[in-house]
Symmetry: C2
Subunit: 231 residues, 2 copies
DNA sequence: GTCTATAGATGGATAGAC
DNA sequence: GTCTATCCATCTATAGAC
């Protein structure tokens, strides 16, 4: 190994701790009442922060314990394995998503445009409220075994049905002009998922501003154009 | 550990090898001429397949070597470290993206709508052509040290400028009616990035069909509406 | 360039005292 | 529930023969 080569490995920026970030937000926040009280909850929060930043495989049990301030062994008094901590977070994230989307739809009227707006708004807001949880639930789900992932996948499928259903309603009653039902659903669903990666409070946009803009974009994508949405 | 507990760990589905997939595509393909010939190239392809499926930290040197059919030690005759293999892939992916977007813009006319269409089309096509590379370049970049990531980040920034520039042109000449320049750019840019996760040849859509649909969606998002795009 | 062999560190998880 | 101590598997990377 030459001196030149070694310089590439002994990265000065790495020594300073700088890394390209996976997401912008910092504080690991979980939905109220979702985390167990006491040490169990603190473990969940610590794992959320580390998983979102370094990924499941890039995070060690010792790092999690270190952040909580407990001994690595203590962790196993609360969770059976590292994978189970992830499973808890992934399930929790999908459960919150499903619950909030369902409530949003229930609170909306019957017009497809209004229902789509309600759905997209809530989708964006939850990703803005819990960006770390959203990123972990979306990007680390594949690590889980089939059994641990099953419930989350089922919830995700039902969320997709919400969106597909609303788009189909609007297409059949003429409010929407869809380019392609499937591709439009994928594209609109992806709008919200992105938010978790870049959104952070106090960086130019409020959660409501982002939601307003994305609702507007989604309505355009669905082919719903009125004078008011084009103002 | 109780019997019930053990059943959750000794997952039967895991024994069968089933896992939730990170992406749909299977064959690890790199742009022509991008990979070195011989073993060096085969290592790159093997690593691409494994990184895209299990992530950088979820993949071992032994797995890569095993897939190539060489001894783990032989790998170090071609690359200095596991991280350098990833760095090669990430750089390669961003270089291809930048080159193709630049060519697409150069080949397009001067009308912002045409330029945006050309940009989005090419963005979708590259993600459809190299879905594994796109996923790895996008989701594992943060693993790299600042020095290894710098070039890729610079290329990505220039790609963002392409899009932001075209949107600004269209906004100022009146072809576009932007909801918000920044959020629209993020949303349109995200359209293509998604494609790598679900697209696979022979699963319902051709690469051109996806590109057509997404170009149409992007024009709608930019607020460019004509009778022809609403047909 | 490729191998065998192994160093050296770190990983997840457990045993058992308190 | 929390600790100390530790097992043992696995990991990245290197040394050195061919």
């Amino acid at each position: 190994m030459t001196t030149q080569d070694r310089r590439l490995t002994d990265d000065p920026a790495a020594a300073v701790g700088w890394q390209p970030r996976r997401l912008a937000a910092v504080a690991p926040v979980l939905p109220a009442g979702a985390a167990p009280p006491g040490t169990g909850g603190r473990i969940l929060h610590a794992a959320l922060g580390l998983f979102s930043e370094y990924g499941f495989h890039g995070t060690s049990i010792r790092q999690i314990a270190g952040k909580v301030g407990i001994n690595p062994a203590t962790l196993y008094a609360h969770y059976r394995s590292k994978e189970q901590i992830l499973a808890e977070l992934v399930l929790l994230g999908h459960q919150e998503l499903y619950d909030r989307l369902r409530s949003a739809l229930a609170a909306a009227g019957s017009a497809p445009a209004e229902r789509l707006a309600s759905l997209v708004r809530e989708h964006v807001l939850i990703h803005a409220d819990y960006p770390l949880l959203a990123v972990v639930a979306n990007t680390e789900l594949h690590v889980l075994s089939a059994r641990h992932a099953a419930t989350a996948l089922a919830l995700r499928a039902r969320c997709r049905e919400f969106l597909a259903g609303v788009l189909a309603e609007g297409a059949s009653n003429g409010e929407f002009r869809l380019v392609d039902p499937t591709l439009t659903a994928i594209a609109i669903g992806g709008l919200g998922m992105q938010v978790g990666h870049w959104f952070a409070p106090g960086t130019g946009y409020t959660r409501e501003q982002v939601a307003d803009a994305y609702v507007h974009l989604a309505l355009r994508m669905a082919g719903y154009t009125t004078p008011s949405t084009e103002a």
